[in-house]
Symmetry: C2
Subunit: 81 residues, 2 copies
Protein backbone atom coordinates (compact mmCIF):
# COMPACT_ATOMS: atom_id res chain seq x y z
CA UNK A 1 0.00 0.00 0.00
CA UNK A 2 2.97 2.28 -0.44
CA UNK A 3 1.74 5.41 -2.06
CA UNK A 4 4.45 6.67 -4.30
CA UNK A 5 3.17 9.97 -5.57
CA UNK A 6 2.79 12.49 -2.90
CA UNK A 7 1.75 16.06 -2.87
CA UNK A 8 -1.03 17.54 -0.90
CA UNK A 9 -2.91 18.30 -4.05
CA UNK A 10 -2.54 14.91 -5.53
CA UNK A 11 -3.71 13.49 -2.27
CA UNK A 12 -6.70 15.78 -2.20
CA UNK A 13 -7.58 14.60 -5.68
CA UNK A 14 -7.52 10.93 -4.91
CA UNK A 15 -9.52 11.38 -1.73
CA UNK A 16 -12.03 13.40 -3.70
CA UNK A 17 -12.32 10.67 -6.31
CA UNK A 18 -12.88 7.98 -3.72
CA UNK A 19 -15.53 10.05 -2.02
CA UNK A 20 -17.36 10.76 -5.23
CA UNK A 21 -17.26 7.19 -6.40
CA UNK A 22 -18.64 5.91 -3.14
CA UNK A 23 -21.36 8.50 -3.04
CA UNK A 24 -22.32 7.41 -6.51
CA UNK A 25 -22.58 3.84 -5.25
CA UNK A 26 -20.07 2.54 -7.75
CA UNK A 27 -17.33 -0.02 -7.34
CA UNK A 28 -13.88 0.41 -8.82
CA UNK A 29 -14.75 -2.31 -11.26
CA UNK A 30 -17.87 -0.49 -12.36
CA UNK A 31 -15.99 2.73 -12.97
CA UNK A 32 -13.26 0.81 -14.74
CA UNK A 33 -15.81 -0.81 -17.01
CA UNK A 34 -17.19 2.54 -18.05
CA UNK A 35 -13.70 3.69 -18.86
CA UNK A 36 -12.85 0.43 -20.55
CA UNK A 37 -9.97 -0.09 -18.21
CA UNK A 38 -9.04 -2.64 -15.59
CA UNK A 39 -10.09 -2.34 -12.01
CA UNK A 40 -6.43 -2.08 -11.10
CA UNK A 41 -6.29 1.14 -13.05
CA UNK A 42 -8.88 2.74 -10.79
CA UNK A 43 -7.28 1.18 -7.74
CA UNK A 44 -3.89 2.60 -8.53
CA UNK A 45 -5.34 6.05 -8.93
CA UNK A 46 -7.17 5.80 -5.64
CA UNK A 47 -4.18 4.47 -3.79
CA UNK A 48 -2.13 7.31 -5.15
CA UNK A 49 0.23 5.29 -7.27
CA UNK A 50 -0.35 7.09 -10.48
CA UNK A 51 -1.10 10.58 -11.48
CA UNK A 52 -4.23 11.60 -13.22
CA UNK A 53 -4.01 13.45 -16.45
CA UNK A 54 -6.46 16.18 -17.21
CA UNK A 55 -8.23 14.31 -19.98
CA UNK A 56 -8.62 11.31 -17.68
CA UNK A 57 -10.04 13.46 -14.92
CA UNK A 58 -12.83 14.55 -17.21
CA UNK A 59 -13.46 10.95 -18.23
CA UNK A 60 -13.61 9.95 -14.59
CA UNK A 61 -15.99 12.77 -13.89
CA UNK A 62 -18.29 11.53 -16.60
CA UNK A 63 -18.07 7.93 -15.46
CA UNK A 64 -18.73 8.72 -11.84
CA UNK A 65 -20.88 11.76 -12.26
CA UNK A 66 -19.31 14.88 -10.83
CA UNK A 67 -18.07 18.21 -12.05
CA UNK A 68 -14.34 18.04 -12.67
CA UNK A 69 -14.05 21.68 -11.74
CA UNK A 70 -15.10 20.74 -8.27
CA UNK A 71 -12.09 18.46 -8.08
CA UNK A 72 -9.82 21.30 -9.13
CA UNK A 73 -11.39 23.55 -6.56
CA UNK A 74 -10.79 21.01 -3.86
CA UNK A 75 -7.19 20.67 -4.88
CA UNK A 76 -6.61 24.39 -5.01
CA UNK A 77 -7.72 24.68 -1.44
CA UNK A 78 -4.31 23.24 -0.61
CA UNK A 79 -2.00 26.13 -1.22
CA UNK A 80 0.99 23.98 -0.52
CA UNK A 81 1.71 21.89 -3.51
Amino acid sequence: MSRTLQSTRHDALRLFLIEKRKKAGLTQAAVAAKLKRYQSFVASIETGQRKVDVVQLIALAEAIGFDPREAIKRMMANKDD
Copy 2:
Protein backbone atom coordinates in the same frame (compact mmCIF):
# COMPACT_ATOMS: atom_id res chain seq x y z
CA MET B 1 6.40 18.49 -35.09
CA SER B 2 4.57 15.19 -34.93
CA ARG B 3 2.00 15.44 -32.23
CA THR B 4 1.64 12.08 -30.66
CA LEU B 5 -1.21 12.52 -28.25
CA GLN B 6 -4.44 13.19 -29.91
CA SER B 7 -7.87 13.77 -28.59
CA THR B 8 -10.01 16.76 -29.09
CA ARG B 9 -9.85 17.57 -25.44
CA HIS B 10 -6.15 17.26 -25.15
CA ASP B 11 -5.86 19.49 -28.16
CA ALA B 12 -8.21 22.03 -26.65
CA LEU B 13 -6.05 22.04 -23.55
CA ARG B 14 -2.80 22.71 -25.29
CA LEU B 15 -4.30 25.43 -27.43
CA PHE B 16 -5.74 26.99 -24.32
CA LEU B 17 -2.37 26.92 -22.61
CA ILE B 18 -0.64 28.54 -25.55
CA GLU B 19 -3.25 31.24 -25.72
CA LYS B 20 -3.03 32.02 -22.03
CA ARG B 21 0.74 32.08 -22.01
CA LYS B 22 0.88 34.48 -24.91
CA LYS B 23 -1.75 36.73 -23.45
CA ALA B 24 0.30 36.84 -20.29
CA GLY B 25 3.29 37.93 -22.36
CA LEU B 26 5.41 35.03 -21.23
CA THR B 27 7.85 32.88 -23.17
CA GLN B 28 8.06 29.14 -22.76
CA ALA B 29 11.37 29.67 -21.02
CA ALA B 30 9.81 32.11 -18.56
CA VAL B 31 7.04 29.69 -17.67
CA ALA B 32 9.54 26.88 -17.42
CA ALA B 33 11.66 28.90 -15.04
CA LYS B 34 8.73 29.45 -12.74
CA LEU B 35 8.06 25.75 -12.73
CA LYS B 36 11.73 24.94 -12.36
CA ARG B 37 11.66 22.92 -15.51
CA TYR B 38 13.30 23.13 -18.90
CA GLN B 39 11.85 25.06 -21.77
CA SER B 40 11.51 21.78 -23.61
CA PHE B 41 9.07 20.66 -20.97
CA VAL B 42 6.73 23.51 -21.81
CA ALA B 43 7.34 23.04 -25.51
CA SER B 44 6.42 19.40 -25.40
CA ILE B 45 3.18 20.19 -23.65
CA GLU B 46 2.31 22.87 -26.16
CA THR B 47 3.17 20.72 -29.13
CA GLY B 48 0.99 17.98 -27.70
CA GLN B 49 3.68 15.44 -27.08
CA ARG B 50 2.95 14.87 -23.47
CA LYS B 51 -0.12 14.79 -21.35
CA VAL B 52 -0.70 17.18 -18.53
CA ASP B 53 -1.45 15.84 -15.15
CA VAL B 54 -3.94 17.59 -12.95
CA VAL B 55 -1.39 18.77 -10.41
CA GLN B 56 0.72 20.17 -13.22
CA LEU B 57 -2.23 21.99 -14.69
CA ILE B 58 -2.71 23.87 -11.46
CA ALA B 59 1.00 24.68 -11.33
CA LEU B 60 0.82 25.96 -14.90
CA ALA B 61 -2.21 28.03 -14.00
CA GLU B 62 -0.29 29.65 -11.19
CA ALA B 63 2.78 30.25 -13.30
CA ILE B 64 0.88 31.77 -16.17
CA GLY B 65 -2.01 33.27 -14.27
CA PHE B 66 -5.32 31.74 -15.18
CA ASP B 67 -8.04 29.76 -13.52
CA PRO B 68 -7.49 26.07 -14.15
CA ARG B 69 -11.23 25.54 -14.07
CA GLU B 70 -11.44 27.65 -17.17
CA ALA B 71 -9.20 25.14 -18.90
CA ILE B 72 -11.47 22.31 -17.84
CA LYS B 73 -14.47 24.20 -19.08
CA ARG B 74 -12.87 24.73 -22.42
CA MET B 75 -12.05 21.07 -22.71
CA MET B 76 -15.51 19.97 -21.73
CA ALA B 77 -16.94 21.94 -24.56
CA ASN B 78 -15.67 19.14 -26.75
CA LYS B 79 -18.11 16.37 -26.11
CA ASP B 80 -16.15 14.01 -28.26
CA ASP B 81 -13.22 12.76 -26.32
